[in-house]
């Protein structure tokens, strides 16, 4: 039982330290600035952005796609790895599920920020028309949010029960954990339902996860525009989403490991495994990128050629090549070396991947809009280009820090590593050892 106490002691949520407080304050300040910027947008209209009739979507939409992409990691680690029996990922399930929930909440918020009439949001429910991909997105994103919340919540039940006892001397907190634990006792009947529901949710979330990102890809692919009009878009987006999500997990798990001193639970082994996984995901995504760019580049129809020229050698070329090289190729090469899969390098590579993934979405949304079928004519010179305004950046960075804030606050009260599952695995190990000894 000493092991048990130590594990609970190690894994129970802890108060923010000095840096934790600074971090939360910083995020709150950024969020406050963003709220002020959004207030400006509400009162003056979207004119405070640099979006105009040609660049009709901008950084908000690419940021939205980024959030949806990140959120897919919840299904990757908790569902796909769980179902495929990759038990090494157990300590990472909660991290990825929390990232997924934070990202999907901010994705929903971001899409509302982009709307010209956010107060008419309810029209989507009273006048919604099923043939619009936006309605598909609304349906599938809400579904995904609920399944993700459940997939975060159910595995927490035993942990809440453990924490209830652990925080006995803090009645208020203990009471909260008690309520959230839904009277978890851990008897056979409960365990049976528990295992079954988690299994069912893990199976359910995979098609929904594919759904959210495929539908998000279809927001673009269902138009005629060169650069978007591609049947490759669904899988291309999903492959990219797994890369972004895995990058986010390795970055966040490094920070949490440092902040909560979890070196015994998130070990070099986990970074090594995640590093290898990231290589695979990057390679798959590279393959889809080749598909996406090489085939139209081979044919060079007039419209596609304009678009590709802009990306390969035009205004967007520096950004495009930086994203491909530092967001995909360099990570693959670095992670192929054993030294590259140590925690710190993996963390740095993870950041590269996430930043690259963010700009990649920007490159998918913006250049295409600036190359419509008819010439861009009879509009002011500024309308021919797009780069976000200060207020647009403030709002966007605000949503990003909002996601980080959700993650940070959730981990103030939730154990980063699933306590119950860790104990179970330990017990299983002990049993195995005991059995061996008997023989």
């Amino acid at each position: 039982m000493k092991d048990y106490d130590k594990i609970v002691q190690d894994l129970a949520p802890k108060k923010f330290g000095f840096w934790g407080k600074i971090w939360v304050t910083l995020l709150c300040v950024i969020a406050a600035f963003a709220m002020y910027a959004y207030y400006q947008q509400l009162s003056q209209g979207l004119v405070i952005t640099h979006m105009r009739d040609y660049s009709l979507w901008g950084v908000y939409i690419s940021n939205f796609v980024f959030f949806v992409a990140i959120s897919l990691v919840g299904s990757l680690v908790t569902a796909i790895l769980r179902l495929s029996g990759a038990n090494w990922a157990t300590p990472l399930t909660r991290i990825s599920e929390v990232i997924a929930v934070a990202a999907i909440v901010m994705a929903g918020l971001t899409i509302i920020i982009d709307m010209g009439r956010p107060e008419r949001f309810y029209n989507l429910f009273i006048h919604g028309r099923l043939q619009s991909p936006i309605i598909w997105d609304v349906l599938v994103i809400t579904t995904y949010l609920f399944i993700s919340l459940l997939l975060l919540f159910f595995p927490l039940l035993p942990d809440f029960s453990i924490l209830k006892k652990y925080f006995k001397d803090k009645p208020k907190l203990s009471n909260w954990y008690n309520r959230l634990s839904l009277k978890w006792k851990g008897d056979d009947r409960q365990v049976k339902i528990y295992n079954k529901s988690i299994y069912t949710l893990s199976v359910l979330i995979i098609p929904v996860a594919f759904g959210i990102h495929t539908v998000t890809a279809w927001l673009f692919a269902t138009t005629y525009r060169p650069g978007w009009d591609s049947s490759n878009f669904g899988p291309y987006f999903i492959a990219g989403a797994f890369v972004a999500g895995a990058g986010a997990v390795v970055s966040v798990m490094f920070v949490l490991r440092k902040a909560y001193h979890l070196e015994d639970y998130i070990t070099d082994f986990h970074f090594d495994k995640m590093g290898k996984l990231l290589v695979l995901l990057c390679l798959v995504y590279l393959y889809f990128n080749v598909n996406e760019y090489l085939v139209p580049a081979y044919k060079t129809t007039e419209e596609e050629a304009d678009h590709l020229k802009e990306l390969f050698v035009g205004d967007y070329a520096p950004m495009f090549w930086i994203v491909i090289v530092f967001g995909l190729i360099v990570p693959v090469i670095a992670l192929l070396f054993k030294k590259g899969r140590k925690p710190l390098p993996v963390f740095i590579i993870g950041l590269f991947v996430v930043v690259g993934a963010w700009w990649k979405r920007y490159l998918i949304v913006t250049p295409t809009l600036l190359h419509p079928f008819l010439p861009v004519e009879g509009v002011p010179k500024e309308w021919h280009h797009y780069f976000p305004t200060g207020l647009e950046w403030t709002i966007t960075i605000g949503t990003l820090s909002g996601a980080l804030l959700i993650i940070t606050l959730l981990f103030r009260y939730l154990p980063v590593i699933p306590i119950h599952e860790t104990i179970e695995e330990l017990e299983a190990k002990h049993q195995l050892k005991a059995q061996k000894n008997e023989k």
Partner: protein, 316 residues
């Protein structure tokens, strides 16, 4: 293809010497009785030549005509049940005079850079001659914008017109992304419309009255003019008769100076095309190719302002 035979016959019929008469366009005139009655009518009575839906010309006494305004049954979301509006743009005549744009902007109280009607300087390749091409909403029969609208704010009427309900639009701009003709504009800020006609209740069939911040606007094909028996603003304003507007079911379009053409004949004889036909959007706007031009292309350069949207109403 099955229509072509039928149309061929009609064409023959008219060629055989029947004069092409005045055709009632929008607003409509109802033919109450047929030739049999007109035969018995007295000689002194004034006769009117009309074309039947078959394309035959008939003479009827004026007294037998009855004004038929179906205004009571008209609903801005449904449109006219018995019409299919269509426009023909004669590229051979366009000199970039921009009167259409000015009239449209003024008529719809358009402010800022938001012109719905644009005149492009087009050139297919270096070897071919440049020409001026006015575009507005193509009022597609398979409108990609309507397909993607999540809230049914932009909709297609029975008479072919695609409109926007600015009281329902949520401002997601998906329709703008979906439109291959770049005809939709967005009210990025509060439109500074000064001269707003009156405080009539809002109806989606008069776009721009008012324009609403955070929603999409575009050419409405002027049903508010048609219902008064008038031509759309652009058609009326064009000094060069570039535009002709009419009802496809009547097979007739009329230009700004009042000349009426048999639509099917005009489209065939002049080799008309629609923009980006390959996309399958089936626009209601037909273009006649810029051949045998009435004036040099260079004439239009005087008004060519690639980086300026429009002459604003205030300057008019």
């Amino acid at each position: 293809m099955k229509d072509s035979n039928n149309q061929e016959q009609r064409r023959e019929f008219i060629r055989k010497g029947f004069k092409f008469g005045l055709v009632a366009t929008a607003g409509g005139v109802l033919l109450t009785k047929y030739l049999s009655t007109s035969a018995s009518a007295s000689e002194s009575e004034e006769m009117v030549e009309l074309m039947t839906t078959e394309g035959d010309l008939v003479k009827v006494p004026k007294s037998e005509l009855q004004e038929h305004h179906n205004a009571s049954a008209y609903n801005p979301r449904e449109g006219f049940a018995d019409k299919k509006f269509v426009m023909v743009v004669d590229l051979a005549k366009c000199k970039n005079a921009r009167k259409c744009q000015e009239a449209c902007n003024k008529g719809h109280y358009i402010t800022g850079e938001n012109a719905w009607l644009k005149i492009y300087k087009m050139q297919e390749s270096k070897e071919t001659s440049p020409y001026w091409m006015p575009t507005q909403c193509q009022h597609c029969d398979k409108p990609p914008c309507v397909k993607v609208c999540p809230v049914d704010a932009t909709f297609k009427r029975r008479d072919g017109i695609v409109l926007i309900d600015n009281e329902r639009c949520i401002g997601c701009r998906f329709c703008m992304a979906a439109c291959p003709y770049s005809v939709r504009v967005f009210n990025w800020e509060e439109p500074k419309q000064e001269e707003q006609a009156s405080a009539e209740p809002y109806t989606p069939d008069f776009c721009g009255k008012p324009s609403v911040k955070g929603t999409v606007d575009k050419c409405d094909f002027c049903p508010h003019q048609t219902i008064k028996g008038e031509m759309p603003f652009c058609v009326k304003a064009c000094p060069n008769d570039v535009f002709a507007f009419g009802d496809m079911y009547e097979d007739a379009v009329t230009n700004g100076s009042g000349t009426t053409f048999k639509l099917s004949e005009l489209l065939k004889e002049r080799g008309a095309h629609r923009l980006m036909e390959s996309l399958g959007t089936e626009p209601s706007v037909y273009y006649l190719p810029p051949v045998d031009r009435t004036d040099d292309f260079e004439v239009g350069l005087e008004n060519y302002t690639p980086y300026e949207s429009v002459k604003k109403d205030t300057e008019l």
